[in-house]
Symmetry: C2
């Protein structure tokens, strides 16, 4: 397929890429692939004209097309919209997909996306490779997109039994060309671990920010908030729409994890209620050691 | 007092400063004052010889002395130890304090420090100006100290009715010379607002880090943890001893605030349980707007 494309250069992974939602996530894929010469033409699909103009002006996309046109013309389609939009986009595209078109996504949850893709695409799900780049920023939109976003970061792919191995290879190659490390797991495992290390932190940070900002003395509180507060609440600035969809999509796993966190919360709270210094220090010590070990291993400082 | 000191230069605020615990917090005061020429001699008091050696080698302190010697020789004594050590240090110093010696501290809680200071110092509490610089880092010790730590940051002072105004002025001047902005409030208000914007975030971040790291599949979880996790858990790496003391010192205010946070947690959890999209988005939207507004106002990005 791609191998037969006359326009393909030595390092080119994809001849024509369509990005549905060329914002931070999708736009950064385009920027990274362009920088490496790994993509030919980039088509952009979106509902916000101002945002598409920014993507054009930054050179992230070459032209704006409809979902239908993208399905007809692209070799690879990357869905980089909030997960709630997946179904509608796939439905629009399905009748126009070429036999060789590969589909992938960048959604933060996977089991629900897989369910939707199977339902909408039918047999064509063999060319839908579900994915999730573990990268982002509290800044959103194409203005924040940049070629280095995925450099050294992890991208999780959750391939399906039905997937064609060539389609898988192309998506793996695409992410590697962006500088990412690819991890493969099932959609269910993905959703369980992401509920823990991504969705619960966003939930807690947002709950906390909401509680502080609605207190009667919130102005004074916020005036003495320092760098710890800054770091702890940074994720709470993320897109409410995107995160609403994530929580709803991964509801069961998040609720399960919140129950686990609440049990830990209550254990620590009880140590504080009893003014149990050794128990408090023990819990703080374990948390501090685990965090320091993670920092040294992950390279995310 | 200081005005009569022959060694004082035009910009010098303090002739001889003693720092009890010249680590990140105390050492950075020394570094900042030295850079501005605002201090003459700096004496260091501590219990960890290796740490004192680093402070000497970095030029943060000029010599190592005992608490008794510091009381005899210093014009200003800055206590920069975990708050649990305040009582023992003040007791050692009291018999040796000069009539002009000014005392201040950098403890993260204030009501308990004031209670201890009143009890130990008696009438001499008139020269104890309680303070709390809202600055820090997950790195600790003199190796992490640097002159810019307080640049543009907030220092809360909680002066007492008994305080001499000259003593207050000197401490205000000291922090301004470090580049900080000084806010004045009562010890009780300080402890209430800090419980909210500092102690609760540390509690939640540590509880979460502890819960993740003790899960059976913690390795996989930590392998897909990204930048949101990194920011949210950064404070959990802080000193367990320091934070144990903070929680114990400000127990009532922290427990009260945890109950408020739990109520907000349960409200958001209930919206998720009911799959109530508009309620979820509303809460996420309020949190995001509040966080973005705070970032633009605080200058802490």
């Amino acid at each position: 397929m791609l191998q037969n494309d006359a326009k393909r250069t030595a390092s080119q992974v994809i001849s024509t890429l369509a990005i549905v939602g060329p914002g931070l996530i999708g736009g950064s894929v385009a920027a990274a692939l362009r920088q490496r010469g790994a993509v030919g033409r980039v088509l952009g699909v979106g509902r916000n004209p101002a945002s598409l103009d920014v993507a054009l002006a930054k050179g992230l996309i070459d032209e704006v097309v409809t979902a239908e046109q993208a399905a007809q013309r692209a070799d690879v389609v990357l869905l980089a919209t909030p997960v709630g939009a997946t179904q509608a986009v796939l439905q629009k595209m399905l009748p126009f997909l070429q036999p060789h078109t590969i589909l992938t996504d960048a959604g933060s949850t996977k089991a629900d996306v897989v369910e939707v893709a199977r339902k909408v695409l039918g047999a064509a799900v063999s060319r839908f490779i579900p994915g999730h780049p573990i990268a982002g920023s509290e800044s959103t939109g194409p203005a924040a997109a940049h070629a280095a976003l995925y450099e050294g970061r992890t991208v999780v792919l959750t391939p399906l039994d039905e997937n064609e191995s060539l389609a898988k290879d192309v998506v793996v190659e695409m992410w590697k060309a962006c500088g990412a490390r690819v991890l493969v797991m099932t959609p269910e495992v993905h959703d369980t671990v992401l509920a823990s290390v991504s969705h619960v932190p966003h939930f807690l940070s947002s709950v906390f920010m909401w509680q502080v900002s609605t207190a009667v003395d919130s102005d004074l509180r916020l005036a003495v908030a320092g760098s710890g507060f800054r770091d702890f609440t940074r994720i709470a600035a993320g897109s409410p729409e995107v995160w609403r969809d994530i929580f709803l999509s991964n509801r069961e796993a998040v609720l399960h994890e919140l129950r686990e966190v609440r049990a830990a919360f209550e254990q620590a709270e009880s140590a504080l209620q009893q003014a149990d210094g050794p128990a408090l220090e023990n819990f703080l010590e374990r948390a501090a050691l685990a965090r320091r070990l993670w920092a040294s291993r992950s390279g995310l400082v």
